[in-house]
């Protein structure tokens, strides 16, 4: 049997061409905007450095940069389009979202920098609400502007698509005999196909299939196909990776809502529950050793999918692709392999025990012993 986690050789993707002057200039603007009064924190610096390196191939030390005013930053990025400037603002917000407490002065400064860049972004406002302590309003804001609006837009744009239509990606699952039958049928597909691998992922961990009581909502279950394609684990660190990739792969910058939400759930605890995922900050997952490189690489991979495939991965009809080999689907969706540095930093595969939560590991072991 060929294991599902076998990743064959795939085309490598070089990062875009950048010059160190521009990368440093962007880094100065971001670092100035996000630094608390005592200076940029280690967690912020390590994450931002990893992202800059993953996306540009260039290394910048965020701890020792000269300040750059909002006006200077705006001048430096004046020739860049709105999408680029908005992605830069999201890097700032990302560096805010790993802080708890998030100082009001930081959230306010980032808003000023975003304004100077001509970017009006809902996530800047969400971060300001976190800083203020208005967590309830922040979640409402994130849901309505980050997810619901985006999902509704996507539904309208892809009216003929066969993917699950939802008003809210976190709406409770419904029992659905037809959907359950589709997922059950994946078990009969040949090894190494997308459907068979995603079924093995569910079966090995004892997950209830979508469509049956206790199963994941149909829309959210879409992300499980990405676990297979991107070869990410299903513990909290793996979830951070998979949603960092999915969020950046979305041509709509609102896809950033996924990573913002996962950080709120599994890093800072700003979000208590989404209905499907619950807050778990027993371990600070984003600041764990190597996670800066793993998140950065997931963002890099997502960017490549965005640039070369250009479709929200939640809108892909995976059922249509389920009978195809995983490698073939990876090629269709332009999912690149993980970078060496991500692997060295502990980015394990979907079927590695280390990529499972303790509960999943127990179930997996019991299944292998034939007890369940």
């Amino acid at each position: 049997m060929v294991p599902c986690w076998f990743v064959s050789s795939q085309p490598t993707h070089d990062v875009d061409q950048h010059d160190i002057h521009t990368v440093t200039l962007v880094a100065r603007g971001i670092a100035t905007a996000v630094a608390p009064e005592d200076g940029i924190t280690e967690v912020q610096a390590e994450l931002l450095e990893a992202i800059a390196s993953a996306l540009t191939g260039l290394s910048v030390d965020y701890r020792s940069l000269e300040p750059l005013s909002a006006e200077e930053f705006a001048d430096a990025l004046a020739a860049r389009d709105l999408d680029f400037r908005q992605r830069i603002v999201h890097h700032m917000v990302l560096a805010e979202l790993v802080l708890r407490p998030l100082p009001v002065v930081v959230a306010h400064r980032v808003a000023k920098y975003a304004e100077a860049l001509g970017v009006k972004d809902d996530f800047v406002r969400v971060a300001r609400r976190y800083a203020q302590g208005a967590y309830g309003l922040a979640w409402m804001d994130l849901q309505r502007n980050g997810f619901v609006g985006h999902v509704l837009d996507a539904n309208e744009e892809a009216a003929s698509a066969k993917t699950a239509k939802v008003r809210d990606p976190f709406e409770p699952a419904k029992e659905d005999v037809e959907l359950a039958a589709k997922w059950t049928a994946f078990a009969a597909l040949p090894e190494q196909t997308l459907g068979r691998c995603v079924w093995e992922m569910y079966d090995g961990r004892g997950f209830d299939l979508p469509g049956v009581a206790g199963g994941a909502p149909a829309y959210l279950a879409q992300h499980d196909f990405v676990h297979v394609l991107a070869d990410y684990g299903t513990n909290l660190k793996g979830e951070l990776e998979v949603f960092a990739l999915i969020g950046r792969a979305d041509p709509d910058p609102k896809g950033f809502a996924w990573l913002a939400t996962l950080l709120g759930l599994f890093e800072t605890g700003y979000i208590s529950t989404t209905g499907f995922f619950d807050r778990d900050t027993r371990e600070r997952n984003a600041r764990a050793r190597g996670m800066n490189q793993r998140i950065a690489d997931a963002i890099r991979r997502g960017k490549i999918v965005c640039d070369e495939y250009g479709t929200d991965l939640f809108e892909v009809d995976y059922y249509e692709l389920a009978a195809r080999p995983v490698d073939e689907v990876r090629e269709i969706l332009r999912v690149p392999v993980k970078a060496e540095i991500a692997l060295e930093s502990g980015s394990v595969g979907l079927f590695d025990l280390e990529g499972m939560s303790e509960t999943q590991q127990k179930v997996y072991a019991q299944r292998r012993e034939g007890k369940v």
Binding site: Q132, G136, N145
Partner: protein, 109 residues
């Protein structure tokens, strides 16, 4: 230090569901509009006095140069706030009683 500000509104009302609906709608509109000092609200029912309720509205700092109390004062002048207060009069009995507080201690900061 960012000191929060709280306004309480004591009201007499036979049917709190109308107030709850108004507060829910208010929160939705605030969550999707430009940020200001409003943080959220609690509605408390008096266990001793049937029909007596207290609306507790919290305000916080969003601009280091503007206090939470000033944010609340700004909020007070907004047309939508005026409209909300006018509508409140339609669903309560008598006049509301307003009180204003600076927060000087909170457990979970």
């Amino acid at each position: 230090m960012n000191r929060n500000f709280t306004q309480t509104i004591s009201v007499q009302c036979d049917d709190p569901s109308q107030i709850i609906a108004m507060l829910t709608q208010w929160d939705l509109s605030q969550a999707t509009s430009d940020i200001m000092g409003y943080m959220g609200t609690r509605l408390l029912a008096d266990r001793e006095k049937l029909g007596q309720y207290v609306i507790v509205a919290d305000f916080g700092v969003v601009d280091p140069n503007v206090s939470a109390a000033d944010e609340a004062a700004r909020n007070n002048t907004r047309p939508e706030t005026r409209a909300w207060a006018a509508k409140l009069l339609e669903v309560i009995d008598g006049e509301p009683e307003y009180h204003h507080y600076d927060e000087i201690y909170r457990t979970d900061r």
